[in-house]
C-alpha cells in the first residue's frame, strides 16, 4: 500500500548504493526533483536504466552516482550531446561508467515484459544492426510456429523505479496523463516504486480507462511540485526548452557543471530551481 513520505525519506528508504534504478518519463514527467535528491544523498554505484538518459542522468552521472547505464538514446533532445555522459564514456570523468545499449523498441518491450513478470521480451528487431555485437544481452530465438528469427532481450526488472505523475488521490492511486511513455511499465516492473506528484487530490476525476495505477501497486508517494522541471507536466507547466538549450553550455565544462550542481542541487533542500 502506498505510503506518503517526504521526498527525502522516500529516496533514503528505497534507493540504496548499488541499486538498479529506473527513472522514467519519456521527455514528459521526468522525475528531476527525485534525481536531485539522490545526488544530495550521495548515492553511489547505481545502475541507471532509462530509454533516454536526458539531462536527469547527465546530472547523476556527472555527480558520480552511477557505475552503469542501460539506455537506448543518449542525447539532449533537439540540442545535441549529453556532455557529462560523453565525458564519462570518453574520459572516465568523474569515474568510468559501463554501458549497455539497446534500441528504443527493445527497451520498450523489455519494460513491457518486466511489467508482465516475464524474464524476456521478444521483438522483430536489431535486423542488420551492429548493436548485438556490442551488447551480449541481445539474443535471437526461432519462432516454434513459423521458424522466423526474432530478437530476444532480458526484461527490465529494476530494484526501484521512480516516476513523476500529475496527481495521486488520498488512497495513493496515481494518475499519469498525456505522454505516458513507459511510466506504468517501469512502475510495475520494479520491486519497489516511488512516485512524485504535483499534488494530492480527493478525486482523480477521470474517465473509465485513464492511466491510473492503484495505490496497492505503489511503494511510496512524495509530493514534489514542479518536480519534473525542466521537463514538463501536462496540465501543469510546459517544457523549459530554454533550460534544455542552456544545459549544453553548463554540461560542456566540468567547472561550470560543478558550480551549477552546487548552486542548484547540493546547496538547496529540495527547492526546485
Amino acid at each position: 500500500m502506498a505510503e506518503f513520505l517526504s521526498l527525502h525519506d522516500a529516496v533514503s528508504s528505497y534507493v540504496k548504493d548499488g541499486a538498479t534504478l529506473a527513472m522514467e518519463g519519456f521527455t514528459h514527467l521526468i522525475p528531476f526533483a527525485a534525481g536531485h535528491e539522490i545526488i544530495r544523498q550521495g548515492r553511489r554505484d547505481l545502475t541507471l536504466i532509462r530509454m533516454t538518459p536526458d539531462l536527469i542522468y547527465d546530472q547523476l552521472i556527472g555527480a558520480g552516482c552511477a557505475s552503469k547505464l542501460i539506455f537506448s538514446w543518449g542525447g539532449n533532445p533537439g540540442v545535441g550531446s549529453l556532455h557529462r555522459l560523453r565525458d564519462a564514456l570518453e574520459n572516465g570523468w568523474p569515474r568510468k561508467i559501463e554501458i549497455l545499449e539497446h534500441s528504443h523498441a527493445a527497451m520498450a518491450c523489455a519494460y513491457e515484459a518486466g511489467a508482465a513478470g516475464l524474464p524476456l521480451a521478444i521483438l522483430r528487431g536489431y535486423v542488420g544492426s551492429d548493436l548485438p555485437k556490442v551488447n551480449n544481452q541481445i539474443k535471437f530465438i526461432e519462432c516454434p510456429f513459423t521458424g522466423e528469427r526474432l530478437a530476444a532481450v532480458p526484461s527490465v526488472r529494476p530494484d526501484v523505479s521512480i516516476v513523476h505523475a500529475q496527481k495521486a488521490d488520498r488512497q495513493g492511486n496515481v494518475l499519469v496523463q498525456g505522454i505516458i511513455g513507459v511510466q506504468k511499465e517501469a512502475m510495475l516492473a520494479a520491486k519497489a516504486c516511488i512516485v512524485t506528484v504535483e499534488e494530492v487530490v480527493d478525486d482523480l476525476g477521470v474517465g473509465p480507462n485513464a492511466c491510473v495505477i492503484p495505490g496497492w501497486a505503489v511503494s511510496a508517494i512524495a509530493v514534489a511540485e514542479r518536480g519534473a522541471h525542466p521537463s514538463y507536466a501536462y496540465g501543469y507547466y510546459p517544457r523549459d526548452n530554454r533550460f534544455y538549450k542552456e544545459w549544453d553550455a553548463i554540461a560542456r565544462d566540468r567547472e561550470a557543471f560543478i558550480s551549477w550542481l552546487d548552486e542548484n542541487v547540493l546547496n538547496t533542500e529540495g527547492v526546485q530551481q
Binding site: L89, E101, S103, R124, V127, L131, E148, R242, Q273
Partner: protein, 263 residues
C-alpha cells in the same frame, strides 16, 4: 545559388515533397520533423504523423524541440504508451514511411548514430540508436535527410546502428517481414536513391545551382550519377512562406514558453 532561399530551406522543402497524402509517417526529430510538418502544411494535409513518444496523428502548430513536447500530445488524435507505439503501430505494420536523420550514412545507406571510432574507447560518442533500428526495418520504406559533407557521407560507417542495405548491399535479401529500406536520401546538395541492383546510393537529382563537382567533393566515396540526371525543382514562394512562418512561430514559442519556466 538562387538568393531567394538557402540550401537548408532547399533541403527541407525537397524532403517535404517526398511525403504524400495518405502516407503514415513515423517522424524522427530535427530535420525530418521540419520536413514532415511542412508537407502537412502544404501539399499533404492528410499525411499522418506519428512520433515515438506515442502521439498518433499529431498536428503541431510549432516544431517540437524534443520528440515528446506537450504540443505533440495536445494536437494528437490520441497518445498511446511507448511500448504500444513500437509494438502495435510500428512493428504491427501501420507505418508506411519512416523519416530519419543521421550523423553518418554510407554508400549502402547504413546509418550510424552510435559513435565515431572504436566502441570501447570512442573518439566521439553519439546519442545511439533510439527508434531508428526498428523504424528502418519495420516501416514500409525509409526517407533519410541530412547535410552533405565528407564527414557525413562516408564509404563505410564506423558502426551500423541502423540497417540501410548492409555492408554488402544485400542484408535485406530474403529477410521475412522487412521493409524496402531507404528509398531516397535528401541532402542540401542533391537527392540520392539506391541503385535497384547494387543498392549503392546514386545521385538522381541535383539541387539548383549545385554541380556534380560539389557533390563529389562532399561525398566520401566515388559517387555515381544517374544517366538523365535531373535538377530538383526550386522551392515555391508558398513553400518558403509556410516554412519560414513555421520556423518563426517555433522560435517564438520556444523562447516565449521558457521565460515563465525559469525561476
Amino acid at each position: 545559388m538562387n538568393s531567394d532561399y538557402n540550401s537548408a530551406e532547399m533541403m527541407t522543402v525537397t524532403a517535404s515533397r517526398a511525403l504524400e497524402n495518405g502516407m503514415t509517417c513515423f517522424v524522427g526529430i530535427g530535420l525530418p520533423s521540419e520536413a514532415a510538418n511542412l508537407a502537412r502544411l502544404t501539399h499533404a494535409p492528410n499525411v499522418v504523423l506519428i512520433y515515438e513518444s506515442g502521439t498518433l496523428q499529431t498536428k503541431p502548430e510549432v516544431l517540437p524541440l524534443s520528440i515528446g513536447d506537450g504540443e505533440l500530445c495536445e494536437s494528437a488524435l490520441t497518445t498511446v504508451s511507448v511500448p504500444e507505439m513500437f509494438r502495435y503501430w510500428l512493428q504491427g505494420g501501420h507505418v508506411s514511411v519512416g523519416f530519419l536523420g543521421t550523423a553518418q550514412i554510407d554508400r549502402f545507406a547504413n546509418l550510424n548514430t552510435t559513435l565515431i571510432g572504436d566502441y570501447v574507447s570512442p573518439k566521439v560518442r553519439l546519442p545511439g540508436g533510439g527508434g531508428a533500428p526498428e523504424i528502418a526495418t519495420n516501416a514500409g520504406e525509409v526517407f533519410v535527410t541530412l547535410k552533405h559533407s565528407k564527414r557525413t557521407f562516408v564509404k563505410d560507417v564506423d558502426f551500423v546502428t541502423t540497417l540501410g542495405f548492409g555492408r554488402d548491399g544485400k542484408s535485406r535479401d530474403g529477410v521475412p517481414n522487412i521493409g524496402k529500406g531507404p528509398t531516397r536520401v535528401i541532402s542540401d546538395l542533391c537527392v540520392m536513391k539506391p541503385d535497384p541492383d547494387t543498392k549503392e546510393l546514386i545521385v538522381t537529382s541535383l539541387h539548383p545551382g549545385v554541380s556534380k563537382q560539389d557533390v563529389i567533393e562532399a561525398t566520401g566515396w566515388d559517387v555515381r550519377f544517374i544517366s538523365g540526371l535531373e535538377t530538383t525543382p526550386a522551392p515555391t514562394a508558398h513553400e518558403l512562406k509556410i516554412l519560414r512562418d513555421l520556423k518563426e512561430r517555433t522560435a517564438r514559442h520556444h523562447a516565449g514558453e521558457s521565460v515563465g519556466e525559469k525561476s
